[in-house]
Assembly symmetry: C2
Homo-oligomer: 148 residues x 2
């Protein structure tokens, strides 16, 4: 599989506003008319410990919209979709409170993520469908030849 500066077809990186205020801050995540919004099913938080990898996961129906408002997370996506123009492509992203943006991942892509901060690493996912074990599959770390 080849790393690339190009983005896998359907994956979106969308800059987000952080509005700083002396009382506290405001971080945008997603609105119902934003790029990458594909309906609302569930929003949940997934945390990942320092140096720990959660991989590999694939959803058959879920579009994920990820943000990392606390800590720092490396997120890797691999495209093995039969008819994709970016089949075989791998993308690496660093999401963090300092490098704050929304990452949209369409269904049928492999992804995994690793905690890079010694403190809390928090991923928020705004998904178009609620959690459903029947629409997802998991493989062990060795399923893809990637050095985390």
């Amino acid at each position: 599989m080849g790393k690339s500066k190009l983005t896998i077809k359907g994956v979106l990186q969308t800059p987000l506003k952080k509005i700083f205020n002396e009382k506290g801050n405001l971080f945008h995540i997603i609105r119902n008319f934003d790029n990458g919004f594909n309906g609302f099913g569930e929003v949940y938080i997934s945390t990942v410990k320092y140096e720990v990898v959660k991989a590999w996961k694939k959803h058959f129906k879920m579009t994920s919209n990820f943000v990392v408002p606390v800590g720092k997370i490396k997120l890797v996506i691999f495209d093995d979709r039969e008819n994709s123009t970016t089949k075989g492509m791998l993308n690496e992203f660093i999401l963090s409170v300092d490098n704050y943006y929304r990452l949209t991942i369409p269904p049928n892509l492999w992804y995994g993520f690793k905690g890079l901060d010694e403190g809390l690493n928090m991923l928020i996912n705004v998904a178009n469908i609620p959690h459903d074990p029947l629409e997802q599959t998991n493989e062990t770390l060795s399923y893809l030849n990637y050095k985390w």
Copy 2:
């Protein structure tokens, strides 16, 4: 205004799952079939510093669904709705990562919140409409006679 153990009409406290795992944890927030869900408009994060109060706010259309996955926040709601059966009632809530639940606030109630943790105090709001300055109003802290 009187404090009460009763809950203001339309306000909901819903317990939420925290699923602990050696790799990292999973925190539920809201699904599209959950109690208190009233459509999806926007999800955003609001942080509030230690000992700082953000108050008073009122929305005319927005239903808010609040969770606090980091830190500890005191949230106060006051009902001055003309035809409400709980008109004049004030409710105080403590939301935190340890006392984790979802607080649903319907439109037309005054609310405000205060950071109780010396570190990060994070409020996530899953709202039924996107931010719209025309559907909200703000008053200064002294508008309601409440000792924070």
